[in-house]
């Protein structure tokens, strides 16, 4: 393995974090808060660590193979979170480092699971950083680095593949760098539109920015104890729509930009995503109608919660933990589905599920007609058998991970519903689950060990298992 290149790239990313930390610093200067020092110190640490890594491991060759791509991504995310937790810890606003790390990983992985019991007492600078991590983690840091700095090798596609979720990662334009730029540009523009609309819906500027970050990355960190519930219905609808928009494959926005409308409309994944969302909203509205006065209110709550969960954002306008069991079951299932591939959402991804269901269909047919030949098509193109196989393998691995983590946190005294939903909410990067970790609760009561397990679960979920798994295997680091 080209270790020098791995450390060099990781160093670059930590250097980028040093620069990114200047934004929350600016916020704390504006609000004249003392947490600015902690942010500055963290930025200095990032500068030293990143500078050291990139200075002392100048690579001999810039070649990146698939393995290096995986390791660079996983390692970067680990170091990024370790350093990113420092502002919370140094400012003593989150006194325990493990808690700070959990909060930061939850931020970068766009989970939105929090250990804070009183979020409103936090300083503006740190709240900004907490939500900004959502925005960075949503589209991905390596994609950001690729957009900003030219990489010499044509093989940087491996890094992009490792970081961008979905079974098949393609480029929009011939160059990786241009692709990364286009993705971030779309992301930036959509975020700004949302901020502007939220401002129009009477939300203060700071709150608008925070919630736009949380929506864009489909993260879910808020700044109020009751999440979004206290804002105007208009603001709630805006957030609902944008959460849904950020759950769509970004390639489709590019198709819109180049006016290939037919490509957008014929996108199968989009229609399935739309269908699932609408079906869930209808079901939950009917189920919760007696709880609210009026159809309009019921639809608003149902739509917000459905979209929030299916895109794995995790904002809440109501305590859905108190909803009837059927609605809760629907929400629980939505957690697994997640948004579309190539979006900022977590979960299994709609296209992967479509692929799996088609595979099951083909194999069923083969049981009846043993000689039948079946080709699986997705978006009008034939899917290679290797992709089909690796998707099935991913599915198995995914549930093994859910099972393993569930077993590890089962020592907690909160009951099956809380523990299972906590694990599922973390792996799928949703945030809140049910019971103890429901929208009104938090992860504060979990033990340090469980927090570490759940932190890893979040990273595994965001990076889609393989990068982190490969990095953690000793064999990867040996010479072979």
């Amino acid at each position: 393995m080209n270790r020098r290149m791995v450390f060099f790239m990781t160093g670059r990313i930590v250097l980028l974090e040093a620069a990114l930390l200047l934004l929350p610093l600016l916020v704390s200067v504006i609000y004249r808060e003392s947490c600015g020092w902690a942010v500055l110190a963290a930025s200095a640490v990032a500068l030293v660590v990143g500078g050291g890594l990139s200075l002392f491991s100048r690579p001999k060759t810039q070649t990146i193979y698939a393995k290096e791509g995986f390791v660079i991504v996983a390692l970067s995310w680990l170091i990024l979170s370790t350093v990113g937790a420092l502002p919370f810890f140094l400012s003593r606003e989150i006194p325990s480092y493990i808690d700070a790390l959990f909060e930061t990983i939850s931020g970068f992985t766009t989970t939105g699971a929090s250990i804070l019991t009183d979020v409103e007492s936090m300083s503006h600078g740190l709240l900004f950083w907490r939500s900004f991590t959502h925005w960075i983690g949503g589209m991905g840091v390596l994609v950001l680095v690729m957009a900003l700095v030219p990489t010499g090798s044509g093989r940087s596609i491996h890094m992009m593949r490792a970081e961008v979720p979905g079974p098949i990662v393609g480029k929009l334009v011939p160059r990786v760098r241009d692709t990364a730029k286009i993705l971030y540009l779309i992301y930036l523009v959509l975020t700004f539109i949302e901020i502007a609309l939220l401002l129009l819906a009477d939300m203060p500027l700071f709150d608008s920015v925070i919630h736009a970050f949380g929506t864009a990355g489909t993260g879910g960190f808020g700044i109020k104890a009751d999440s979004i519930a206290g804002y105007t219905p208009a603001a709630q609808w805006i957030i609902t729509v944008f959460m849904w928009l950020f759950g769509i494959n970004f390639n489709l926005y590019y198709l819109l930009l180049i006016r290939a409308f037919r490509g957008v409309l014929s996108n199968r994944e989009l229609w399935v995503y739309f269908g699932v969302t609408v079906a869930a909203v209808v079901l939950i509205t009917c189920n919760t109608l007696p709880l609210y006065d009026g159809f309009g209110e019921a639809v608003r709550y149902a739509a917000f919660q459905t979209v929030s969960i299916v895109t794995t954002t995790g904002y809440a306008t109501t305590n859905f933990d108190l909803w009837p069991e059927l609605s809760k079951a629907v929400l629980f299932l939505l957690m697994f589905i997640g948004g579309c591939a190539g979006s900022t959402a977590g979960g299994l991804k709609v296209s992967r599920l479509v692929l799996l269901i088609k595979t099951v269909g083909r194999d069923l047919k083969r049981l009846v007609h043993p000689r039948s030949v079946g080709v699986i098509k997705l978006e009008g193109k034939r899917v290679e058998d290797t992709v089909v196989r690796s998707t099935s393998a991913y599915f198995v691995l995914y549930f093994l991970l859910v099972g393993g983590c569930f077993l590890l946190v089962s020592g907690e005294p909160f009951g099956l519903e809380s523990n299972l939903s906590a694990v599922v909410a973390c792996i799928n990067n949703v945030g809140p689950g049910f019971g103890e970790v429901g929208p009104a609760g938090s992860f504060a009561a979990y033990s340090g060990f469980s927090k570490i397990v759940l932190s890893f679960a979040m990273l595994f979920g965001r990076l889609e298992i393989y990068p982190l798994l490969i990095t953690l295997m000793p064999r990867t680091w040996m010479k072979d």
């Binding site: 090798s153 044509g154 093989r155 596609i157 480029k171 929009l172 334009v173 011939p174 160059r175 290679e384």
Partner: protein, 452 residues
């Protein structure tokens, strides 16, 4: 520039590699997804799976916004069809690989017109052309002609006993009356643009330019002239062999072709009545000796196997054949063989890639850059660029001696009207001149870029 390459075989991959290195946006089309995956993993290109002759595939590759479509699949017919459709759908320029001899005779021109091809490339013929140039002046490793044949640059390897070795270049020029310029030197893996104090050593690979008319005089005087090869043995009766034999025979050279396949031998006899065609296995050393290998002026190994070409070239060299040329397609093997001592290696893939890079630069020229023409020298270690001079006050009417050029850059020739000038420090560039610049570092897009 937006370029589509149809076909990701050996040649396609080499072309993609050089076009990406030139900074173009390349889209690759191939029907085999494994080949595509390989290419997209290594190079920064986008891959589209499908038939290159299919409208839908071409449309999804964005053919309407493409400046250049290059079709290099294994099938001539598919290449032509892809280019034709691409052109119909709005591609600005198209190049097809057309290799079959039947299409390459009189039917080529009308076909190019009907299909609206910008040009066609025939790898075998290009390789044969290069081989022919080398055999014409056997002391050269490679010959490049600039500015419509007004200048030539030959690459040759200096023997330790050569009179050019040991003296600074400034002395050499006054010693010989012929106007020439040693403009680029490769020593080991490094490429230099030498100045007046540079001293040549034996084993250096040098590039010399001179006006076309003075070349032979110069070569005679410095004692590196070898007579043109009169007796050539060609191993392998492939298409390249055929084209080469044809050119050599037209120039009155005696040619002996050794080919294993009986049917092919008969075909060659039919096409080339003046050549001696031997049916036999060229890998048998006995056969080569029997056919008079030791009396040959040159031995050209053109079989389909790189390894066989390399080994038999060593065999020929060990029997003191003055000029040995081997065709090696795979780059890695070529460099290896060069390290082991084979001087003259011709790679068809590289030749094509260079032709395309040159074409793409010329196209870019019409899109803003000023490079008229481009040649790769010294195994891609240096470039020769042709510029048309505009009235730039920082450049024109200034003696070259006082021009502050960037390091590793040299003005190797000036063409004024019909006169070719090998410049000295007193010469100056005038507006309307055509200038050949040799550069060992950096990509230049404009003549003004070469000044500090």
């Amino acid at each position: 520039m937006q370029i589509i390459v149809v076909g990701c075989g050996k040649i396609g991959t080499t072309i993609i590699a050089s076009l990406v290195a030139e900074g173009h946006d390349v889209t690759a089309i191939d029907s085999r997804s494994e080949a595509l995956e390989e290419v997209t993993n290594i190079y920064d290109v986008i891959g589209i799976q499908g038939n290159g002759g299919d409208c839908e595939t071409l449309a999804s590759a964005g053919v309407d916004k493409t400046e250049l479509v290059v079709a290099v699949t294994g099938s001539d017919e598919l290449n032509m069809l892809s280019c034709y459709i691409a052109r119909q759908m709005g591609a600005a320029h198209t190049i097809a690989r057309i290799r079959s001899p039947e299409y390459n005779d009189s039917s080529l021109e009308p076909m190019k017109q009907h299909l609206r091809l910008s040009t066609s490339i025939n790898p075998e013929r290009l390789a044969a052309e290069e081989l022919y140039h080398i055999l014409r002046l056997p002391s050269a490793v490679k010959i490049e002609t600039f500015s419509h044949r007004k200048f030539e640059m030959i690459e040759l390897i200096l023997r330790p006993e050569s009179p050019l070795v040991g003296a600074p270049l400034s002395q050499l020029r006054s010693r010989y009356q012929a106007k020439f310029l040693i403009c680029v030197v490769q020593r080991g893996d490094e490429v230099f643009i030498p100045d007046g104090n540079f001293v040549l050593q034996g084993g250096d690979k040098i590039g010399i330019t001179a006006a076309y008319t003075e070349f032979h005089k110069l070569m005679r005087e410095v004692g590196i002239a070898q007579k043109q090869a009169r007796h050539v043995m060609i191993l392998g009766g492939s298409r390249t062999g055929y084209y080469l034999a044809k050119r050599l025979l037209n120039a009155g050279v005696s040619v002996k072709i050794i080919e294993q396949d009986r049917a092919l031998c008969e075909e060659l006899c039919d096409l080339l009545p003046k050549a001696t065609v031997i049916n036999g296995d060229g890998a048998q050393q006995e056969l080569l000796l029997e056919e008079g290998l030791e009396d040959m002026d040159a031995f050209v190994s053109l079989t389909g196997m790189d390894e066989e070409n390399i080994l038999l070239s060593f065999f020929a060299a060990s029997h003191n054949v003055p000029k040995v040329i081997s065709k090696v397609s795979r780059d890695e093997l070529g460099t290896l063989a060069q390290k082991l001592g084979l001087e003259c290696i011709v790679s068809p893939r590289k030749i094509i890639a260079n032709v395309l890079v040159r074409y793409a630069r010329a196209l870019e020229n019409s899109l803003g850059s000023n490079v008229e023409n481009l040649y790769k020298l010294m195994d891609d270690g240096a470039e020769a660029l042709e510029f048309n001079v505009k009235d730039n006050p920082r450049l024109v009417r200034i003696p070259l001696r006082t021009l502050q050029l960037k390091p590793q850059v040299l003005i190797a020739g000036i063409l004024r009207g019909r006169e070719a000038i090998i410049p000295s420090g007193e010469d100056m560039i005038l507006p309307g001149d055509r200038v050949v610049v040799i550069a060992a570092a950096g990509h230049f897009r404009d003549l003004a870029d070469i000044i500090k």
